[in-house]
C-alpha cells in the first residue's frame, strides 16, 4: 500500500490544475471543436425532425391530444435552434475565442471516441458470445495498461481479485449468474 503511493514523479507536480484528470473545466475544447459539435448536432436534429420522427411515431388518436411525435419534435426543434445558435456565436467570435482558449489536443477527441466505440462493440459482442469471465479480465487488463501500470504482479492481482469478487459476490449476495 505505502510503497505504491510513493511512485517516482508522483509528488513532483505541485500544481493540481495542470494535470487535472477530468475535463470538467480546465481542459476546455477550442472553438473549432465546438463549431464541429454544433454542426453535427444540428445535422442530427434535422435528421430526427425530417426522417426519424415522421416515420417512427404514431398519430394523435383523438382531439384534445397532442400527437406522440409532438414532444420529440419540440426537443429536436429546440436542439436545432440551440446548436445553430452555438455555431453562429462561435463563428462570430471565432478569433477572439481562439486567442483565449486555443484548442487543446486538436481532434484527439475523435480518436478517443473511435477507440471507445470500437471497444464498446467488442465488449457488447463478447459479453454475449464469450461471457463475463473473458470480458472483465480483458477490460481490466486494457485499462491497467492504458493507465501506465506495468507491474505484472499488480495487474494479475487486480484482475484475479476483482473478477473473482464480482463473480462470486453476484452469485452469493444477489443470486445472479453473470453472463
Amino acid at each position: 500500500m505505502t510503497d505504491r503511493t510513493s511512485e517516482p514523479h508522483s509528488g513532483a507536480d505541485p500544481a493540481p490544475e495542470s494535470p487535472a484528470p477530468t475535463a470538467d473545466t480546465s481542459a476546455g475544447p477550442g472553438p473549432r471543436q465546438e463549431l464541429a459539435a454544433g454542426a453535427v448536432l444540428a445535422g442530427l436534429s434535422l435528421f430526427a425532425l425530417f426522417w426519424l420522427i415522421p416515420n417512427h411515431t404514431g398519430e394523435a388518436t383523438s382531439d384534445h391530444e397532442v400527437a406522440p411525435g409532438f414532444f420529440p419534435q419540440v426537443a429536436a426543434g429546440a436542439l436545432l435552434v440551440l446548436s445553430l445558435l452555438l455555431v453562429g456565436h462561435r463563428l462570430i467570435r471565432f478569433r477572439k475565442l481562439r486567442s483565449i482558449r486555443p484548442a487543446t489536443g486538436g481532434f484527439a477527441v475523435l480518436t478517443e471516441i473511435a477507440i471507445l466505440a470500437a471497444g464498446t462493440l467488442v465488449v457488447a459482442w463478447a459479453l454475449g458470445a464469450a461471457g463475463y469471465l473473458v470480458v472483465a479480465p480483458a477490460m481490466m487488463a486494457a485499462g491497467l495498461l492504458a493507465g501506465g501500470e506495468r507491474r505484472w504482479w499488480a495487474i494479475g492481482l487486480v484482475i484475479a481479485g476483482m473478477t473473482a469478487a464480482t463473480w462470486f459476490g453476484a452469485d452469493l449476495l444477489f443470486g445472479v449468474q453473470l453472463p
Binding site: 458470445a129 464469450a130 461471457g131 463475463y132 469471465l133
Partner: protein, 320 residues
C-alpha cells in the same frame, strides 16, 4: 475457464435456436420427466421488484423449491409490462428448467395488438395460482354506487377515468361503446399514480389492478373485470356476466410451448402443493387479499382460450 463459459453459452444459443425442433421431436421426453429436476430451475418474474406480483413470486419461489427438491432461482426481468421477460422465456428450451411467473395479461395483450416476437400460442400454461382482482372503482363519496348509476351520470357530464395502460382503456371504452357513452381516459403509470389522482378528485373513476383492496373505506367497487366476482366484493357483478367478456385475470406459471405432457404433469403437481404452502397462502389470501385459486394445466388452457376470444371482441370493437 474462458473456454468453458464460451462453450456453455454456445450451447445455450444453440438450444434456444433449436427449441421448436426439440418440441416436435419429443422423443427423449419421458426420460426428461423422470429425472426432472436434475439442476436448478429458473423462475422468471417479468416485473420490477417491489410490486405485489414480485412479492408473491418471491415467496412462491421458496415454496416451489421446497416442493421440487431443487434450488429455484428467481430472475426478475422487467420491461414492457412483462413482455421482455415473456419473450425471453418463450425462446428457451421447453425442458421445465425455465418457467415464467406472470399475470396472464402480460402474455396476451401485446401479441394481440402488435408484432412482439412471441404469439398467443408461445407458451405451455402449466397452472394458475391465483386471480388478480381487477375492478372498476370510484371514491367512496362518489355520486354513483353502481355501474348503472355511473353510466347514467356519464350521460349528463363527460367523466374522466384513470387507466393503467392500453388494455384497461380498451375494456373500459368497450363498456362505453356498449352503453353509448364516452369518457376520457387519463393514462397513469400504475396504481401508485392512480390512487392519489382518484382520492384527490382529479379523476371520477378508475381501473384498478387490485390496489383498491388496501382502501376498503375510501373506495368502492363498481364492476369486476374478472370472469367471476371478486372475493372482497361478492355482490358486485362481473364483466363476464354483463357483457360476456372479461380481462385475463389468472396469475399463471407457464413454460415455453411444446413441453412434454409428463413433465407438465410433474411440475403441475409440484405447483399445486407449493400453492398450498402456508407462507404463500398466508401472503396471497390474508395480506394481498387475493383468492387461493389453483387451476391445473387442462382447465387453465381452456379458460385462457375463452378469455382470448373475449379479448378479440374487445379489440375489434374499440379499434378505430
Amino acid at each position: 475457464m474462458p473456454h468453458r463459459s464460451k462453450s456453455r453459452s454456445a450451447i445455450l444459443a444453440f438450444s434456444a435456436f433449436m427449441a421448436p425442433a426439440v418440441a416436435i421431436g419429443g422423443m427423449a421426453a419421458p426420460a426428461v420427466a423422470a429425472d426432472y429436476p436434475s439442476k436448478p430451475v429458473t423462475l422468471v418474474i417479468p416485473y420490477r421488484a417491489g410490486g405485489s406480483m414480485e412479492t408473491m413470486g418471491r415467496v412462491f419461489t421458496k415454496a416451489l423449491g421446497k416442493e421440487l427438491g431443487t434450488r429455484v432461482v428467481l430472475k426478475t426481468r422487467p420491461g414492457a409490462g412483462g413482455a421482455v421477460g415473456a419473450l425471453e422465456v418463450s425462446k428457451q428450451k421447453p425442458d421445465g428448467y425455465t418457467l415464467l411467473f406472470a399475470a396472464s395479461v402480460s402474455l396476451l395483450w401485446h401479441p394481440m395488438t402488435r408484432d412482439i416476437g412471441f404469439g398467443l400460442d408461445s407458451f405451455t400454461y402449466i397452472a394458475k395460482v391465483t386471480d388478480s382482482q381487477m375492478a372498476l372503482i370510484a371514491r367512496q363519496d362518489a355520486p354513483f354506487n353502481t355501474l348503472k348509476e355511473l353510466i347514467a351520470h356519464a350521460k349528463k357530464k363527460r367523466l374522466n377515468y384513470a387507466d393503467q395502460g392500453p388494455m384497461p382503456r380498451a375494456f373500459v371504452n368497450f363498456i362505453g361503446s356498449k352503453e353509448g357513452v364516452s369518457w376520457t381516459s387519463i393514462p397513469t403509470k400504475g396504481g401508485g399514480e392512480m390512487v392519489p389522482f382518484l382520492l384527490g378528485g382529479k379523476v371520477d373513476f378508475a381501473w384498478s389492478g387490485g390496489i383498491h383492496n388496501r382502501f376498503p373505506k375510501k373506495m368502492k367497487v363498481l364492476l369486476s373485470f374478472n370472469s367471476g366476482r371478486l372475493i372482497a366484493s361478492p355482490d358486485i357483478p362481473s364483466m363476464q356476466e354483463l357483457y360476456g367478456v372479461s380481462m385475463p385475470s389468472p396469475v399463471v406459471i407457464v413454460g415455453p410451448k411444446g413441453m412434454d405432457p409428463a413433465l407438465v404433469a410433474k411440475i403441475e403437481a409440484a405447483i399445486k402443493t407449493a400453492a398450498a404452502d402456508k407462507a404463500f397462502e398466508d401472503l396471497v389470501t390474508k395480506k394481498l387479499k387475493f383468492p387461493a385459486a389453483f387451476v391445473g394445466h387442462k382447465a387453465l388452457t381452456a379458460q385462457i382460450q375463452q378469455v382470448i376470444a373475449g379479448m378479440k371482441r374487445v379489440v375489434a370493437a374499440t379499434k378505430k
